[in-house]
């Protein structure tokens, strides 16, 4: 990876980190309501994958920890923050919220709050891609705990059976809410379970973005060249709790400290400092620039954006509001 590519990924990961940290503050200040699941610590996963894929063109679907996936496909962070603030200017006009970000223009098919459900939707996206001969692949990014749902086995079976163009990315952060993987799962190497369904794949270090990128290139090429589905397991760790209401009593302090030493941003930054591709001053100035942008542009936009009009409460429930089926003109991307 050349210096420009590394710099870009460092900047993206740092932006995502500061975005999430600012969400935390906004939540504490009650500007963001509901649930909030932060991605801090896992940044190398989605940015590494999307660097190897076509961000904004390949179809991406994920779970409820979805802010950074939105950033990684190129969504406008102002519209995302406005959505988190519950505003009409938000990417879903305030109807979705933190767990349900969507952007059809960027082929981002959403965040879903039912664990494992997107596996099935993802094979549907892949089926449509196959049927309509679209020049894209489907990328389904979920966590380790989702692999204990029936949809994992059902969907991987169908993906393999019909050789669907779908890349399953498993962000294995070792915990399903508060239950560690070895307390919930008999076969903890999840790649083995995928293979059992007939889906080939690989494992990679999810804290090292260059390792993720290299593994993702192979994975994406496999799917794009028509060789069927692929399962990429990334070993990672979330530095914060499952959600904001998490007491975080279920993890050893020593384990947390060990993983804190494997911060994906620090790993890339240190590598670049060592090779003199960046200086500490440059990094600090980049960080300040990002913090300023998030505060002065992103949060400011979300704060001043209007709330949805209560008159529009029932808007979007149905499309054909008069039930005239002849009107059914599909505008889906």
């Amino acid at each position: 990876m050349d210096t420009d590519a590394r710099k870009l990924l460092l900047e993206k990961m740092l932006y995502a980190r500061r975005f999430e940290e600012r969400c935390f503050e906004a939540y504490m200040e009650r500007e963001i309501g509901g649930f909030l699941h932060l991605y801090v610590g896992q940044e190398a996963c989605v940015f590494g994958v999307m660097a190897a894929a076509r961000a904004g063109e390949d179809a991406v679907i994920t779970g409820y920890r979805d802010h950074v996936h939105g950033l990684a496909v190129g969504m406008d962070s102002k519209l995302m923050m406005a959505e988190l603030f519950g505003k009409e200017s938000g990417c879903c006009h305030g109807r979705g919220g933190s767990m349900h970000l969507f952007d059809l223009q960027k082929q981002f098919y959403g965040g879903y709050a039912i664990v494992g459900a997107p596996f099935a939707l993802a094979i549907g996206l892949a089926k449509a891609i196959q049927l309509q001969k679209r020049d894209q692949i489907a990328i389904c990014i979920l966590g380790d705990a989702a692999c204990n749902q029936g949809t994992f086995h059902e969907s991987l079976n169908m993906a393999a059976l019909w050789q669907l163009p779908v890349l399953f990315v498993c962000e294995n952060n070792l915990y399903g809410i508060g239950t560690r993987i070895d307390r919930s799962t008999a076969v903890t190497e999840l790649i083995e379970r995928a293979k059992g369904c007939g889906v080939t794949g690989a494992q990679a270090d999810g804290q090292d973005i260059e390792a993720v990128f290299e593994a993702s290139k192979v994975a994406v090429e496999h799917v794009r060249s028509g060789q069927g589905p692929y399962f990429l397991e990334l070993k990672t760790y979330r530095f914060r709790g499952h959600s904001m209401s998490d007491s975080n009593v279920y993890r050893d302090k020593s384990e947390e400290e060990q993983w804190a030493g494997r911060d994906p941003i620090q790993i890339l930054k240190n590598r670049m400092l060592e090779s003199q591709e960046i200086t500490e001053e440059e990094y600090k100035s980049l960080d300040k620039e990002i913090l300023d942008t998030i505060e002065n542009e992103v949060v400011a936009f979300a704060r001043q954006a209007p709330s949805p009009d209560v008159e529009d409460l029932e808007k979007y429930v149905l499309c054909d509001t008069d039930g005239d089926s002849e009107q059914g003109v599909n505008t889906n991307g």
Binding site: A59, I61, G90, C91, C92, H93, G94, R95, G96, G97, H100, F102, D103, L104, Y109, G110, Y112, A113, I114, A117, F119, A120, L121, A122, I123, G124, L125, A126, K127, A128, I129, Q130, L131, Q132, R134, G150, T151, E154, S155, N157, M158, L161, K315, Y316, V317, L318, C319, D320, D322, G323, D324, S325, E326, Q327, G328, V329, N330, T331, N332, G333
Partner: protein
């Protein structure tokens, strides 16, 4: 106008819609090689190929989700769930995704999916193959629910459902696939909303849907012959949304209402129609509305118990007479 059987009408609608639009696909258990448990997809695998007429594994939740995900990209899947009792396994995908994604994406994603679901009490199939669940689907915003009572409706509603950008649940009845009826020779699209007066009458309105419309018609004949009571029969082919205006109009006509449903009464079609009568037409009433429902039991196996649990024409006649006596 040709007479055809209900299953033939469904098969014809499938065939025409697959022919018309390359984005239409059918998926479900045994819909391809076998041609469907009720023959509703017979001949289609040969004609359209395995990419569009898809035999799925027995994985209801995920093949339903597959259809929904494909619909996000403009595919128009007709998802057959072999028996409504199996639809419980697909409930997460139908309720959490099909019904809600258009709303929670702020109108960005549409789900033009059709869920064709046979159900109802056939003949001693036991508690896990005899349920009716339309009330469950009616209770969630974001779905359309229709249920055809005739071959013509089965044909026209399926065609309209395929063309709708909304997710549409079609409840068919396992005992109705051999029913015969006239279906227009030319293409026909049935409106997805509304209700239909299928028998004129001035003394009482019998509201039914799907198979219960036929029980209502039998009851109306008996009432006319034996009691000189002329019952109006209204077919509520759209269960969501229910036709509030049509219900009001009918009650304003006869001032007496009986609702017939092939399901347990609690939180059901009857309860909902009664609520609408209460809200829209209370002062038109000459008597308290009555429900004729299935018994509040899991459907039993023994034939005599099964019959006892179901509504029929006799029970409807008895309900009308009881309603008049209490007036």
């Amino acid at each position: 106008m040709a007479e055809m059987m209900y299953w033939q009408a469904v098969q014809r609608a499938h065939d025409e819609e697959l022919e018309r639009d390359a984005n239409v696909i059918i998926l479900g258990e045994d819909v391809g090689l076998v041609g469907g448990t009720y023959k509703a997809t017979s001949g289609l695998l040969d004609k359209y190929g395995a990419e569009r007429v898809i035999d799925t594994p027995i994985s209801e939740n995920s093949f339903t989700g597959l259809g929904i995900g494909a619909a996000f990209m403009g595919v128009r899947p007709i998802i057959e769930i072999m028996s409504v009792n199996f639809a419980w396994l697909a409930m997460d995908q139908i309720m959490n995704n099909a019904a809600k994604v258009h709303y929670m994406s702020g109108g960005q994603l549409r789900v033009p999916a059709v869920f064709r679901i046979p159900g109802g009490t056939a003949h001693q199939l036991g508690a896990q193959h005899s349920a009716r669940m339309e009330k469950v689907f009616m209770g969630v915003a974001g779905l359309r629910v229709v249920t055809p009572s005739t071959p013509k409706q089965a044909y026209g509603l399926l065609k309209s459902a395929v063309r709708s950008d909304d997710p549409v649940v079609i409840h068919e009845h396992e005992n109705m696939y051999q029913f015969k009826g006239e279906v227009p020779d030319e293409e026909y699209l049935h409106p997805l909303e509304g209700s239909e007066v299928v028998r004129e009458g001035t003394d009482v309105t019998l509201f039914g849907y799907n198979l219960s419309v036929h029980w209502c018609l039998q009851a109306a004949d008996i009432l006319s012959e034996e009691q000189r009571i002329e019952a109006q029969v209204v077919d509520l082919y759209s269960l969501s949304p229910l036709d509030r205006e049509g219900i009001h109009k009918a009650v304003a006509n006869t001032h007496n209402a009986v609702i017939v449903e092939e399901a347990e009464p609690v939180c059901g079609v009857g309860a909902e129609v009664m609520a609408i009568i209460n809200e829209e037409a209370f002062f038109e009433l000459d008597s308290a509305p009555i429900r004729v429902s299935a018994a509040n039991v899991p459907m039993p196996f023994a034939r005599n118990l099964e019959l006892a649990a179901l509504p029929d024409a006799k029970k409807i006649v008895a309900a009308v007479m009881a309603q008049r006596a209490a007036r």
